[in-house]
Symmetry: C2
């Protein structure tokens, strides 16, 4: 016999609805059932359901549209950028990056990749090397590492602008991976020769090093991303409240 679930009821309801979204049983962009109907189906009060929905909304998995109901959130490029891309120009305005993918390879995870992505020794990762261009110049050199088991048959175009959407939208649409959260560690580093070639800066230029681990809606680490940002004309913005 299973032990009764000790979590608060609204957390259990959140998990059930989360599963429906992750599994694709509720599809991106679809309206979810009306609250009274859903509460009755799940056998919970309106208040419990509303608390669970509020948490899903906070996690950007559903969205309420004024007077029109509640929908499974569509992860658009704009939404992904707004949530995850913190780069601003010196006037404080968001920038609109283009992406140039230069290499996609697959091989066993390094020690660092395995640790960050919680992989067993020998498990494979895909590595995507790319640069991001905004306001006319390449400003970020980055490598994305993905557990190959979560991204079977990964295919990405190797030419500029052919991936017309943010890569998190691609994860969702092509691989069913819904990114909801990330942890970043920031530090400063000196541009290597490789950085200098990509970013057009002198070797040794101080760069902002951003090490990101991204988690999907099931709480699994699904991406390690190491970005090197040229901050001569840009900043990484943080709001603390």
């Amino acid at each position: 016999m299973r032990r009764p679930d000790a979590r608060p009821l609204y957390v259990q309801v959140e998990a059930i609805l989360n599963d429906r979204i992750v599994s694709g049983s509720w599809k991106s962009g679809q309206a979810i059932p009306a609250e009274p109907e859903l509460a009755a189906e799940l056998g919970v009060s309106a208040g419990t359901l509303r608390r669970a929905l509020a948490r899903l909304e906070q996690r950007h998995l559903i969205e309420r549209r004024q007077g029109r109901g509640t929908y499974v959130a569509q992860q658009t490029s704009q939404q992904a950028l707004g949530q995850f891309f913190r780069v601003r120009n010196l006037a404080g305005r968001p920038v609109d990056p283009e992406t140039v993918i230069t290499a996609v390879t697959t091989s066993p995870a390094s020690e660092e990749e395995a640790r960050r992505l919680r992989l067993a020794p020998g498990e494979e990762v895909h590595r995507i090397d790319r640069s991001r261009v905004f306001e006319g110049e390449p400003r970020i050199a980055e490598r994305i590492s993905l557990p190959a088991a979560f991204f079977p048959n990964l295919t990405l175009p190797l030419a500029p602008k052919q991936l017309g959407t943010e890569i998190y939208v691609h994860y969702r649409n092509a691989h069913g991976i819904i990114v909801v959260q990330a942890e970043e560690n920031l530090s400063a580093t000196a541009a290597t020769e490789a950085d200098a070639a990509i970013l057009g800066c002198p070797v040794g230029t101080p760069l902002l090093l951003i090490e990101r681990v991204t988690f999907d809606a099931a709480g699994r680490p699904v991406e390690l991303r190491v970005s090197r940002l040229d901050t001569r004309a840009h900043r990484y913005a943080v709001e603390i409240a």
Copy 2:
């Protein structure tokens, strides 16, 4: 005749209660009146009051204590550090900084200070130069600029460890300034000779440059802080959700 206030009622209630905290009419650590009493006094529904209280709680101005009621938040050093200090060691653990103040001066604001702090030309700022020591080494060199008009008679001890609390607690207790929010812009820079002398690193070492503007509970910019973090053994942590 004043025009009716167009803001939602709960926002107006939030502003009224915010004023009571900022003005000191409700003091730090004091229990606030029970919800039914407060709702009756303000002439609003329990739901509206609760929504206003939830916003004040989110802003760390009040805190609910399980089964004991709601209190005006006391800004402790631990709370201030937890909210505003993002430095972690390489194991991902928070560090416990000591502060060494090396100079406190007062003079007219620079152009940058005036712009960031919204001061008129010629207005004075206090400048606090200090370093922060953790895990045995000075790791941050920073300058804090404060509008002198908000901080009359600023006196700070010029010796290590004599300011036993975080400076935001000092702002509140000695100057009635309640810090609730900050915007930070991060970039990378090379250590100058002055940085190298403070941080014990070679000139040219890449440092994480953190430019912070801090806002008080009334929404005014009350602090400009420029910090230079040695990231050889530490990181600046960001959570994105």
